[in-house]
């Protein structure tokens, strides 16, 4: 495999190191898209998450439909829609914009579920207690419920950030100039795919591992909390939202 005719031949590595700037650009591009998409996803997720616990039927319904639609269709197809479908309706967005909007809206749905479960894990009585003290719904949410839910929400939220970063790689399919695309584009003209994909994998790992590790530590912290503070008792609810899904 490492012989002069193999996919990992030394001259192929040399070619890659000579073009390191191309890969650095891909890395920077992925960072920009991931940050912007995360901001959008958080905005959508928090609003919809709260809406889904609002007891206002139309809001809950909208939030439900949004979440079900985005969670049950592939991101790839959603991106294709934005890319090939929207221009048909006269809206032409740049690939970067599509990346931010597409990935942001998709993960917005997952974050909404994280937020919803977090709020749900706080005892119902608390909201009623807050009402009895004259708090409005919004005040009760921001002052009483969310600060408590934060600890429980944080670990799965961090995992969502990891999944979001990984999913920006979908942009490669529509030529988004990200890490994945750079590896693909660079290696397919010369077919030096061995080194290209090893480097791409490393770059993603550098971005994702610290975050995934943080998520795990935060989660361990939640588990160590006493039941009343959302520890043991909240575990059932927590399972609703932990890890995994991209």
């Amino acid at each position: 495999m490492f012989s002069s005719t193999g996919p990992f031949a030394w001259f192929k590595w040399q070619a890659l190191f000579a073009d390191w700037q191309i890969f650095a650009q891909g890395f920077a591009y992925t960072l920009v898209v991931a940050f912007s998409a995360l901001a959008l996803a958080l905005l959508i997720g928090i609003i919809l998450g709260i809406a889904s616990c609002s007891n206002i039927k139309p809001l809950e319904l909208f939030s439900r439909i949004y979440v079900e639609f985005f969670q049950n269709t592939p991101l790839l197809i959603q991106i294709f829609f934005l890319y090939n479908g929207l221009p048909y309706a006269g809206i032409v967005l740049s690939v970067t914009t599509i990346g931010i909007i597409g990935v942001g809206m998709y993960h917005g749905a997952y974050i909404a579920e994280v937020v919803r479960s977090g709020i749900g894990s706080i005892a119902k009585g608390q909201l009623e207690a807050a009402y009895s003290q004259g708090f409005t719904y919004w005040q009760a949410m921001t002052h009483i419920i969310l600060p408590q839910a934060k600890t429980i929400i944080l670990p799965p939220l961090t995992m969502q950030a990891v999944n979001l970063i990984k999913n920006t790689s979908v942009l490669a399919v529509i030529s988004g100039a990200d890490i994945m695309f750079t590896a693909k584009s660079w290696s397919s003209s010369n077919i030096y795919y061995g080194p290209a994909y090893v480097v791409a994998g490393l770059l993603y790992f550098i971005l994702c591992y610290p975050l995934a590790n943080l998520a795990k530590r935060l989660e361990d912290k939640v588990n160590a909390l006493p039941a009343e503070a959302g520890g043991k008792k909240s575990r059932l609810a927590k399972q609703d939202v932990t890890v995994g899904n991209s």
């Binding site: 049950n72 991101l75 197809i77 795919y193």
Partner: protein, 213 residues
Amino acid sequence: MKDIFTTANMLFVLEGLKMTLYISFVSILLSTLFGTILGVLRSLTGGIFRLLAAAYIEIVRNIPNLLWIYVIFVVFRLKSVEAGVVSFTIFTSAALGEIVRGGLNSVGAGQWEAARSQGFNTFQVLRYVILPQAFRNMIPAIVSQFVTVIKDTSFLWSVIAIQELTGKVTILMGRYFQVGQVFTLYLILALIYFVVNYTLSLLSRRLQQKLTY
């Protein structure tokens, strides 16, 4: 404009759906097994095994699936479909490993003591007491992971040319390439995924309610 909705085209797309479901089903089955092993290793053992399980999970889940599919295709000498199954098994096992770890943590330590005092050996405790409870807690996360698998198999076409659902529909676009037709085909594609995945989520909610009450 040629008509998209011919019997031949429908069957063609159906073939793709079958492939999508086949790859998803087999990898889900295998990953549930390996994921459980990984989760148990990571949370209940020590030393080298714990380390290996942790390293496997962390390396696999911190690199995009899109890239794994390609890497596995290149490294393992497999046919495309097998490469698809193997790659999905590899990263879904890691994801499920983490879910199982979380699920095991959710079962109180007292359960171990209680079961052992009834004369169960360690394996039996795990098999009959801990895992069933853990799995019940994990159902939503696991099913959500299954949905992810079905959705992500859509990568298989553009990376390694497996003719699953997305692939078949894209091939149809080679013949039905007017904008309106392409648009229609994308809609059909999204709809099929939605129906399959939404049904799965509904079933999981039913299952969990049944087990909880």
